[in-house]
Symmetry: C2
């Protein structure tokens, strides 16, 4: 073959350890804290989180062993996933830049979310739980937890932001095929949800509200535990397999990125993809520009860096993060996974220290979807609406290289596929 377009790895190359950036951070990560008034949320953490995940949340270890059982689940889910060189796209853009993308869309549920869902379900099962509860926005996380609970033998309850639940009927069916119970949120199934639902049964909901419902549901059932798909440290730790595989694949390509890009809502795919490379910057003196692609409806990295709740109903501890405020109302968008008020504390600290740039795209999403259509036509892969932000940002950086003549190496993550989100493309692009 003239030029290499793809590197895959074997099952034995699935990382044996997750990467935990906390000990490498330029300054200590501010721990979560309780608000000055009201009951202790920190005291609730052991009820809110799987024991092993709580341990990882606080871990000062740089590398955390991945249990064999979880590596086996990763292999069952098709890991490792290929790293592609987007040669057609480079030609189409006529750019001197080199473009590489990671294929997290090669996933049973269509996104990177399975990487932490499988780990959390495996640990939950070990701890004797029989059911997991959660919230979901775009639906990728809810689907991933439905999948992971099915293959590990747990029951699963999902509270789904109503604005998205209403238009993603196929994704709902998929979760049901996997055996999950799914409710539109705010729902009448929880006390907190009922207060909002009774006022307005058409309340479009938000991730913050749905988190509150998932937590309340698990608090009431000793056999159930809550799982969160983003924001928290242990989630980013589990997701580090994305970046670790990508580093190994870049070695085989004999190349290394100058720019690392992904979309960012709460930060799980961005963190999983970028943090191993941030580690290279912090420890090996590498120079990389990191860009988080966001929506103008939730440009949380352009918010305030302060302590805030992770959920609407204030059941979580306060986290030091970039936030738009946990009570903010955000307009629905098709890339709904990006619609969250705060950014993961780890990524927020790195942003605050100047390691991460951000760009926020207009909320009508036309520019994002039209730009990512160039990628679809050239490379043939259908990104999820959220991943389209990552694709759009990568194309813009490649076009800047065209102007400047710079031969930069651009790596971007395609965190999921859009097979279940096609109506969104149809509506926005007017097809």
């Amino acid at each position: 073959m003239s030029e290499r377009r793809q590197v895959n790895l074997g099952v034995d190359d699935i990382p044996h350890q997750w990467y935990n950036i906390i000990p490498d951070l330029p300054e200590p990560l501010p721990p979560p804290k309780d608000p000055e008034e009201g009951e202790s949320r920190l005291g609730n953490l052991p009820k809110m989180m799987i024991g092993e995940c709580l341990k990882q949340e606080m871990s000062a270890e740089n590398w955390i062993d991945i249990p064999d059982g979880i590596r086996e689940l990763y292999s069952q889910a098709g890991r490792p996933r290929p790293l592609f060189r987007a040669l057609n796209l480079e030609k189409r853009l006529d750019t001197p830049a080199k473009l590489y993308f990671k294929s997290e869309f090669f996933s049973p549920t269509g996104s990177h979310k399975v990487n932490t869902a499988l780990a959390q379900c495996w640990y939950a099962k070990q701890q004797g739980f029989e059911r997991v509860t959660t919230e979901t926005g775009a639906g990728q996380w809810g689907t991933a937890l439905s999948y992971a609970s099915a293959v590990t033998g747990l029951k699963c309850t999902v509270f789904w932001v109503r604005s998205v639940y209403n238009w993603k009927q196929d994704r709902l069916t998929f979760m049901e095929l996997l055996g999950a119970k799914v409710y539109a949120s705010p729902s009448p199934m929880t006390e907190f949800g009922k207060t909002l639902y009774d006022k307005n049964p058409e309340n479009v909901g938000s991730l913050g509200i749905a988190i509150s419902e998932g937590l309340e549901d698990s608090f009431k059932d000793p056999k159930a535990t809550y799982c969160l798909g983003s924001v928290l440290n242990h989630v980013l730790i589990h997701q580090s397999v994305i970046g670790l595989e990508t580093q190994k694949q870049f070695e085989i390509f004999d190349d290394y990125p100058d720019i690392v890009i992904s979309c960012l809502g709460g930060g799980s795919n961005f963190g999983g993809f970028a943090l191993p490379f941030v580690g290279d910057v912090l420890k090996k003196g590498k120079k990389i520009k990191f860009i988080a692609a966001q929506s103008q409806v939730a440009p949380n990295l352009q918010g305030e860096y302060r302590f805030d709740f992770a959920d609407y109903a204030e059941k979580t501890p306060l986290l030091k993060m970039y936030t738009l405020g946990h009570k903010i109302d955000m307009e629905p968008i098709k890339g709904d996974g990006l619609r969250y008020h705060g950014c993961s504390p780890i990524l927020s600290l790195l942003r605050n220290k100047g390691y991460i740039d951000t760009i926020a795209y207009p909320s009508d999403e036309k520019h994002v979807f039209e730009t990512s259509k160039i990628f679809m036509e050239a490379e043939g892969w259908l990104p999820a609406p959220e991943s389209a932000y990552s694709v759009c940002c990568a194309i813009e950086e490649a076009l800047k290289c065209k102007e400047s003549g710079e031969k930069k190496v651009i790596a971007f993550n395609v965190s999921g596929h859009g097979f279940l989100d096609i109506p969104g493309f149809r509506v926005v692009l007017g097809l």
Copy 2:
């Protein structure tokens, strides 16, 4: 890891040659012929087919070199694809059988059809064509050709059986995102289609009718060529990458199948998966049971073995094959890719000589979808409706082993994913 659940291969393991079974067949394959009356169809073949494909159609070579350009396209499309061991499913069924499945669903368009679409578009481009035309049933082939034409820089026109076109709006959008022009068939765009369309604009159509329209459209445009996604020898040759990869993966698993299963409409995924193993039977004395999973609406392998047209309007030559008659009306089903009147001549000959068994499942599809839901829950992958027939058949064979206590090794192909076909599952399973 305790037990190996998956084997993947690297890009360098993409086969360098396709396998052509024709010289190994137990007796010579009857060549296509002209009907006794009317104009010569054989004379039309060079107009109907890409030159290199026509050459392959007649080739007596056992191994045909895969051009570097096509291997590069295969790598761009994510090949090789993993072979999975279905350990969860084995446990769930409590069977002594071992179950392995090939993941053709790891495809840009969701099915194995890209394997020949990419080859045909690459050859068409080499020959100077600017546009490809085709028909599609389930939509998998039309999507694959839309994809392949996009990444090779060709235009694409698809005639889509109306009964499926009507309920797969998302797949239609996907083809349009890839830049294809798509018409419900019978359409008013061709003379033949118009005769049927004018009588009844709601005519549900058939693959045979859509083939006739695709052919007519290409005949009228010297810059266009027609592509067929199944039945013909060159298609099965291109698809042999599936079985060749699987053989290499079985070596790494240190195992070998006793039973090889896939669904069968025209025969392309069945042939691609099974024929390299049939070669082992014919040349190496291996003993394997081959089973084609079909629908009772189109049990073509239970039809007559005789010469018949491949299309409704009798524009193709006569092929010696198992057929239900090219004018048969077939009830619509969700696994519409199986709804074709004839089976590939190569597979028909092997069936006639006793090498291939067949089973046909009831047309309400409840049994097939309910059985394949066990696979979804255990392994977490969502098969296409057609692939669900393969899954169902594999589960039934595994349950027979449970009764008999036999430790058989069962290999089945999951030819595509069902992300764009979820409404079919919802309707049939009443979700």
